[in-house]
């Protein structure tokens, strides 16, 4: 499960997955950004994410692609230490802003 929210000016999309961030939510995750046409900034709030698997990493890369590749503005916020470790192992701190 996840929830997504578009800022009032429509420019910032915040996606918040709940519990497990894995392939089970790949459709919801894609729909969230596919339906937010005007969004230019993306925030992935992982404050409620307990687990993350490798397909979640793939999904984040797909979002990066969608958001303009190297020019994408994606911030990943509120990572728990365990989730952060996964990102570090995968070298994701080079592709995304982790905070």
């Amino acid at each position: 499960m996840l929830s997504s929210q578009l800022s009032s000016d429509g420019a910032t999309l915040t996606i918040t997955p709940d519990g497990r961030f894995d392939f089970k939510i790949h459709r919801e995750f894609r729909d969230a950004y596919a339906n937010a046409d005007g969004a230019r900034h993306y925030v992935i709030n992982l404050g409620r994410t307990d687990y993350l698997d490798s397909s979640a990493l793939g999904m984040l890369l797909l979002l990066r692609e969608h958001a303009g590749g190297d020019h994408a503005d994606i911030r990943i916020l509120n990572c728990k230490p365990d989730v952060y470790t996964i990102f570090q192992i995968a070298n994701f701190h080079r592709l995304f802003t982790l905070a």
Binding site: D53, L61, L62, D82, I86
Partner: protein, 561 residues
């Protein structure tokens, strides 16, 4: 019938006795009032025929005593007297007599009166019996309500309504409330609050509180957001509640640090926020239907977020509060409520108590027709204290044990079971591996995904190289898994104690054709393909990862201390 005759004239008694015996009644005789009362107590007659003027004790006094001693029973008394004065006859009734007949009397008339009073007596006996039964049932009912009430109270107490930032008041119309208030802290230090109002009140409504509270507490504890919790409660209630019963609810998440409030309101009155010095902010409108009305796919879990400042006060309440009426039918109303909450808070009486006092004054003793719930949240982190955080169930340190766990799943079982949560639950039940849970999860998740996706379903990862292919891959996976007819997945987990901590060997074997594991690359690059990260992740998470057989058995070793 058993009839008592009280008359001091023997001939009168003889005539009567003859007649009553002939009619099939049993008869006892007394020669004055006092004897009559004594016989009444001994014989417990069904009916009494009473003279008025008698020595020792007259008929009036005797009748009064008899009526007094009848208790719940109805024993008709017919006065049979030579007196004709209306005032004297009226006195018969005043002393408890049920009818009278003046001498000389007609036997036909006396029989008719006995018959009529006998019918009233039967009716009285029936009503008395029914009353007794009703009373017993009511007592039982009250007893059961007390039990339900106690359960209800425990459910409320289970959460953290005693949180220093919350004050509240719940006034049920009956013993049991159809309004509920729940509060619980999330694992990330946020506060979840829920106010709910079931249609109706009393037992039926209160029963629904149990699954609601259970879902609310457990999902909050697991870190789910309020939108997801609302969706889950909706689903659960839809399954168990009859169609005419539903639950209006407002769920709220308060982030003390971020000064944010997230809200999902389905059918509750507008939540009100007061900012000191500024007054009321935009109300928290209901944007959804109450819980249990919509199907899962129609349900809208979207929430609204409001920025708050320290010192802001937020009010949630049930419609019972603003719709409470006074003797002339006037409602308490939103305006009166707003007037109250705009006044600054003066301790020690909380605003909730003050509003309740105001409401009691307004209603002026009129009984409440609906349950009333009112809750105040003070958005001030200074009030919060860490003691109110959710009690952790993992405070003890665990010692390593030796154990072995094996799970084999055939294709059919894989259709319906995701082995990952089951394994994680079992594993952490046996051994409390709190800090290692996440790493073990990663290892298991990736190994299981590989065994199922590639080993059993024969999916090719290169499919995931394009955005479209990525989605396609998982759609295929879903379809192939439901169509899978053959295949076996075997998971073995062996844990052994070490000097400090323990060693976990996780082996995942599938019945697939295997693969050439010698060609596996060991590093994880920054290359932006959408796949190929699972195995490097496992490698980085554990002590060692090896493949056996033809590549269909993967073994990861995880060491913890």
């Amino acid at each position: 019938m058993n009839i008592l005759i009280v008359d001091d004239t023997e001939t009168n008694r003889m005539v009567l006795v003859a007649m009553l015996l002939k009619d099939g009644h049993a008869v006892s005789e007394a020669a004055n009032g006092q004897e009559g009362v004594t016989l009444f107590e001994r014989e417990q007659p069904d009916l009494v025929i009473m003279d008025i003027m008698m020595p020792v004790m007259d008929g009036y006094e005797a009748t009064a005593l008899i009526k007094q001693r009848s208790g719940d029973r109805f024993t008709p008394v017919i006065f049979l007297t030579g007196m004709t004065d209306e005032a004297d006859l009226a006195k018969c009734i005043a002393h408890g007599g049920d009818d009278f007949l003046t001498k000389p009397y007609s036997q036909v008339l006396l029989r008719a009166k006995i018959e009529a009073l006998s019918r009233i007596r039967d009716l009285h006996a029936l009503i008395t019996a029914q009353n007794a039964e009703l009373l017993t049932r009511r007592k039982k009912d009250e007893g059961e309500q007390e039990v339900a009430h106690a359960i209800f109270q425990k459910i409320l107490r289970e959460g953290c309504l005693e949180h220093p930032n919350l004050t509240w008041r719940l006034s049920p119309a009956e013993l049991l409330s159809g309004d509920i208030l729940l509060a619980a802290p999330t694992p990330h230090g946020l506060l979840h609050v829920m106010i709910g109002d079931f249609t109706g009140h009393g037992l039926a409504a209160a029963v629904g509180a149990v699954p609601v509270a259970e879902t609310f507490y457990s999902m909050t504890q697991s870190g789910f957001g309020i939108g997801s919790i609302a969706a889950a409660i909706n689903h659960k209630l839809r399954l168990i509640l009859p169609t005419n019963l539903f639950c209006a609810a407002c769920l709220l998440e308060w982030d003390p640090a971020g000064r944010r409030i997230t809200v999902w309101n389905g059918g509750m009155p507008d939540g009100l926020i007061v900012r000191p010095g500024e007054g009321l902010l935009r109300p928290l409108h209901s944007r959804h239907l109450p819980l249990s009305l919509l199907n899962e796919d129609q349900f809208d879990a979207s929430t609204e977020t409001i920025e708050v400042q320290h010192g802001d006060r937020l009010y949630l309440y049930s419609d019972g509060l603003i719709e409470a009426r006074n003797a002339v039918g006037e409602m308490f109303g939103r305006d009166r409520l707003e007037q109250q909450i705009l006044q600054p808070e003066r301790s020690p009486v909380s605003l909730c108590e003050r509003i309740h006092e105001e409401l009691t004054r307004f209603c002026g003793g009129e009984p409440a027709h609906d349950d009333i719930a009112l809750l105040q949240l003070t958005c001030d982190p200074a009030v919060s204290s860490p003691d109110t955080n959710l009690r952790s169930s993992h405070t003890y340190s665990d010692t390593a044990r030796n154990w072995h766990l094996q799970l084999s799943l055939e294709a059919e079982a894989l259709h319906r079971v995701d082995p990952l949560p089951t394994l994680m639950r079992t594993l952490t039940d046996i051994q409390d591996l709190a800090q290692h849970k996440h790493m073990i999860f990663t290892i298991l998740a990736e190994l299981l995904a590989n065994a199922i996706d590639h080993g059993l379903l024969g999916l090719d990862s290169s499919m995931k190289n394009t955005p479209r292919g990525f989605a396609h891959y998982y759609e295929q996976r879903e379809r192939l898994l439901t169509e899978l007819r053959q295949g076996l997945l075997r998971i073995q987990i062996t844990h052994s104690r070490k000097d400090k901590g323990g060693r976990l060997i996780i082996q995942v074997q599938d019945s697939g054709p295997g693969f050439d594991f010698h060609r596996l690359v060991s590093g994880i690059g920054t290359q932006e393909t959408y796949s190929g990260r699972g195995i490097p992740l496992v490698r980085a998470s554990c002590e060692s990862l090896t493949y056996h057989g033809n590549g269909n058995t993967a073994e990861a070793v995880y060491v913890w201390a």
